[in-house]
Subunit: 223 residues, 2 copies
């Protein structure tokens, strides 16, 4: 369902130039549970952004569920980002002026969910990540790990079938990290596809397969 051929991504601002992904070949089937690991700066987040249709490769082909992403129009892309894929960002990307509740609610508003159903879904998601008593707090009124959990709740609110999580437990103590891992495992057993960037062996050892990145290349060739 995720097919990448000869994917390259070069960042070139004129002032700086970095070849962040080099000839990446990747094949991920529906329902897989995958960990992406590698040194800081090796291209993991860049790869995740391309998978999530948030960034366009400099060259190469990427098809998602059989359709070339390059050929999709803005509506298709919006639909993918809002409904098909849930993305947990490494730096959370929360709206600073909105509460935890409102941050999680936003994608549900976009997909046209009713107010009553939104309230139920948001409350459920925030409770699931242990933040029932923090729903009215804004991001700067939350601890780092709490902000991370709001980002997780927001990514999962729409019940996406593909979950992309960029270091989802980096700011969490081991007990909270275990709860989040269990949440992802439950979603995987329900048939969803989960791809997690992690530095944490206690997470990667639970995954079906580990993709190792180094200097923008997948080690051991195509996967």
């Amino acid at each position: 369902m995720i097919e990448m051929q000869n994917i390259n991504r070069v960042y070139d601002t004129g002032r700086v130039k970095v070849h962040a992904l080099r000839d990446v070949n990747l094949h991920i089937k529906e329902g897989e549970l995958i960990a992406i690991m590698g040194p800081s700066g090796s291209g993991k987040s860049t790869l995740m952004n391309v998978i999530g249709c948030l960034d366009t490769p400099t060259s190469g082909r990427y098809s998602l569920d059989g359709k070339a992403v390059n050929d999709l129009d803005d509506n298709d892309l919006a639909d993918i980002r809002n409904r098909k894929i849930g993305f947990v960002f490494q730096s959370f990307n929360l709206l600073s002026y909105a509460s935890a509740f409102e941050n999680v609610e936003l994608p549900l508003i976009f997909m046209g969910m009713s107010t009553a159903k939104r309230k139920q879904r948001v409350t459920e998601m925030l409770a699931r990540v242990g933040l029932a008593d923090r729903m009215d707090h804004k991001p700067n009124e939350l601890s780092g790990g709490q902000q991370q959990r709001v980002a997780i709740a927001r990514a999962l609110a729409n019940h996406p079938r593909i979950i992309l999580a960029d270091e989802p437990t980096g700011n969490l103590d081991s007990a909270s990290g275990k709860e989040i891992l269990q949440l992802f495992l439950d979603l995987w057993k329900a048939g969803n596809t989960i791809i997690m960037i992690t530095h944490d062996p206690s997470i990667s050892e639970n995954c079906e397969r580990i993709i190792h990145l180094k200097d923008g290349m997948i080690e051991n060739g195509a996967v």
Copy 2:
């Protein structure tokens, strides 16, 4: 040198109220290497901000090197924050419009270091954290772990005697994390005081003592 008695910190915005630190008693001597651990939301960053004179307690007494912090004027406080204490923030707090080099250089400009000496010091610090080839990148042109390392370089640039690091390896792979740990251990052996918030046992097991926080309280009473 760090003496806290009955420290309380209540966040009260009218809309939300959280008793983040409760009757904290703490005594840290010069030259100690300390880990602070505890669940997400337990008050670790709040405690660190009070120690670092970035936040004022709601009640209780805090003295640093024998002086009551409450009695210090703005100049004393600025001096403490710029020269005595190096602070690595959990969310990095880098200037988004400045390069890695400029971000690390800023505290050195404030203390009046010459241009030539600044160039040497900044280059040295960034090389020390493995970012010699990323000096001109702005934060949004850096990976998460690279941003974290810029924050570390900036905190250490002024050679402070007290280093406060809030989860300094949360975004780093284990190899990079080990290098950063070694950097802190070297600084500790040189006689500096190091206090690190961490969720990582491979860091805390290297510390002289571990302070455990839970629900705003230090477990096992005064330390």
